[in-house]
Symmetry: C2
Subunit: 491 residues, 2 copies
């Protein structure tokens, strides 16, 4: 290996290790940190962000890259060099002072959000949100090319190459199909949900069993409980979080399966320290969580495994059998909470967040008008009044930690997961039997080979096209939803 | 504030924040990390150590210091400058490569030690230990002045200014008194220990209650269980760890009180980010843990509070009352494990470790001869044969993480705690009544004012002298032990 390449890769490897530390202290903040530690933690996160920024902006990076004979490199190392250049460009355009302030504002914003959410008081959160928006706009302005919307630069952070001009028709194009489906279903009688008391410990034990059966390596991971579940870490230390509601076991089970999907991706990468091996984009990441949550976890075959497993965990169920369980876990209901939404409503939640955050960043919506705008839009799309800010504008953590441009990746995830589902069914004709037995290793192997082990070698759309043989579009998702819910609701 | 001083302090503050992150990921490694994460964690620790090293060796530090008008500074800021200079000197004498290798070897050494300890197989651990010794010698050689023993440089890391030539007579000077006391007690009948089954949960709950009553702020801390208890963090996030043995509740209770003593010091500092406010030395740190563990926790007055509390936690006890409890928690027994040793034997454990590690560093003892040397010395000092390496040479974590020169600070802690005890009894004549009620705030206030809030303004011996009015010596410790055990054993 040439010296400049070796030095660059060593630099990238240490940066990745420090970035893993930053993820770990975020995980700790959510799961383990004592309450009084928050202010001190903000200093720690800020200092680490500043170190990472300086490493990404190291002036030796363009020197190393300039001295590398690019055509002689493997595709993998060419990608490593390109990712180093991308990180360098972003870091040198964003001043260290701004990166550090953003990290500190995120930590502080999250602390205030948690209090505001508990109090159901949006006004308590507004100043922190305003600050996060200012910082995000400032960051976007540093990155924007000529003619870019500020929001494009934010999107690009999570979904490299995505542009609002292309994303908007893709997302908005789903609306007619989703609205028609929702309206058709609204005229039908919903199947019964599950009833009973489901002890938290028993839920967590069953969730752990399912995660392990789907291939989550618990020697390289752990499961803790939080308010807003997430997955953290990569390689040999990938931690997931979940939550429990003793009246609703599906909250815990499907949150866990969702995060397991993320964790399987992170445990499946080929190198935890090199950017070419890292996950492709947030949209692709979300495709993995959605795939395991919906196409596997909420499928009719899995209900055959889950029904007796739930009887074992909780005793006799209020539902008569797997058919009723399948109907119950796919029950369509106009709830307030995005993370509890069914597959029909989920993307409608994203569409409104996408509109609102795009307007906030563009300056077309002021923070003081956000709660009213949220509530009005929610009523328009979902036909219900938001009862309190905790079930409305304060429900999601994202904006409190400065994540703007992230929400659309959830819908991209749903779109990609349906594309992968269609292709996998062709390749694995006996997939239903595997899912019925919860013996899903061939499914994981299929995803490992086509997605996890491909890292960042291709941009998201090309990766999905290579994996499925078709350019990604929303058509497979709409067809999947019409098929599944058409049959469940006799449409 | 002058610009160079402000820049220096800002630099020190960020370094302290990153150093807190390093402590946090060590805590995580012991308490939360999944088993497979160890190799990746070694890379993370190494990368962070390398960042800290570079910050301590930043060439701007001597420039800032050179531009500061030292005589105009407060004593606090003069100390900050002196600590920056000390860290700079250490960092520039130790190459970054060596600091990073040591951190990685420590992480890897600890992993191997844990396996070797579980297997009771010293040979499994020997190569990692040999590596740690090589690195420690290399580090000591970088720091040593003319005529220094290598071991002096290691000592100085934990106990600034301590020298083996002064430490050895102080420690060895304790031996005759300790041996005489042990031999006198050996001829007497030991009082009964406690018997019964003590559920781990009940132990942890009682330990938590005691920690809180002694002033440990659980909103700024947490308690977890590990193999080898420790305290981690400073300021508003100070975490302690403990362990449980269902046949022996005192293991958990006094481990917890010990770590609580450390935690009270760390929670009591006046600034978590400036070195002048940091703890004075490891010996002084240990004086705090030993004081709460022995002079308070194992005192006759505290038995009056503890007896009914233990009845509440565990039901009827095998011991008839507080006198018997006091005798039981001070039972002298020739055990194998340092962390379970009574006050009479404890310093004998330290003396042999001090001799062995000094010889290892000086090259007078080879790693392949260490287990035999340990076992021979143990038999000489304690009159018993070591049954297995887990209860012998593999019992302590220290050498596995490259800590040499650390053990003597435990005995310094015992010496200092007895000095503080004597002085405090003069200042707080009704101390026994406070301890009897577990209403110990005035005791904590006394330590806060004289030790915790003084930070590093004085070196250890001067700090103890200022707090107590007397130069520190082993005399108060020997007198305290002769008094306590003379009365308990009718000597």
């Amino acid at each position: 290996m040439s010296m400049p390449l070796a030095e660059l890769l060593d630099h990238l490897k240490k940066t990745a290790a420090l970035s893993q530390v930053a993820s770990l202290i975020s995980w700790d903040q959510e799961t383990m940190m004592p309450a009084s530690g928050a202010v001190q933690r903000a200093e720690q996160s800020g200092a680490l962000a500043s170190v990472l920024h300086a490493r990404n902006a190291d002036p030796r990076i363009p020197e190393w890259i300039g001295a590398i004979d690019l055509p002689s490199l493997s595709a993998f190392d060419r990608r490593n060099v390109a990712e180093a250049q991308r990180a360098y460009d972003r870091a040198t355009k964003i001043p260290a002072r701004l990166a550090e302030e953003s990290a500190r504002a995120a930590s502080e914003g999250q602390r205030i959000w948690a209090m505001a959410r508990a109090a159901g008081d949006f006004a308590m959160f507004a100043p922190a949100l305003r600050r996060n928006i200012e910082l995000a706009r400032e960051e976007a302005a540093c990155l924007a090319g000529p003619g870019d919307e500020l929001y494009d630069s934010l999107l690009d952070t999570f979904e490299p190459g995505a542009r609002v001009a292309e994303l908007e028709p893709l997302l908005e194009g789903m609306r007619p199909g989703l609205v028609a489906l929702r309206e058709n279903i609204a005229g039908k009688t919903a199947p019964p949900g599950i009833e009973g008391h489901f002890p938290a410990d028993a839920q967590l034990l069953l969730a752990r069993t399912i995660a392990a059966r789907f291939g989550y390596d618990l020697h390289a991971g752990r499961i803790d409980t939080v308010v807003h579940p997430f997955c953290s870490g990569t390689g040999d230390d990938v931690r997931i979080t979940t939550r429990t509601d003793e009246a609703d076991p599906f909250n815990c089970l499907f949150s866990t399966v969702h995060e397991t999907g993320h964790a399987l991706y992170n445990q499946g990468i080929t190198d935890a320290f090199l950017p070419a091996a890292d996950y492709c984009s947030m949209g692709v990441h979300e495709s993995q969580s959605r795939f395991w949550e919906n196409q596997i976890g909420r499928s009719r075959p899995f209900a055959d495994w889950l029904y007796p497993a739930m009887e074992g965990a909780f005793g006799e169920l209020s539902l008569p059998g797997p058919d009723a369980l399948y109907a119950a876990v796919n029950r369509v209901h106009s709830g307030f909470i995005r993370t509890e939404a069914d597959e029909v409503h989920y993307n409608l939640h994203i569409l409104m967040r996408f509109e609102l955050e795009r307007d906030l960043i563009a300056g077309a919506l002021e923070v003081e008008d956000l709660e009213a705008a949220w509530n009005a839009r929610f009523e328009r799309d979902f036909g219900m009044a938001v009862p309190d800010a905790g079930r409305g504008v304060l429900q999601d953590v994202h904006w409190s930690v400065g994540l703007f441009g992230y929400f659309p990746t959830y819908s991209l995830g749903n779109i990609y997961s349906a594309c992968l589902d269609r292709a996998m069914r062709r390749d694995l004709p006996d997939r239903d039997a595997m899912v019925r037995a919860a013996e899903t290793q061939p499914i994981l192997d299929w995803l490992r080979a086509r997605i996890h082990m491909k890292g960042r070698l291709l941009p998201a759309a090309e990766l999905i096209e290579e994996a499925t043989g078709e350019k990604p579009s929303a058509a497979p998702l709409i067809a999947y939803l019409e098929d599944k819910f058409g049959s469940l609701y006799d449409l």
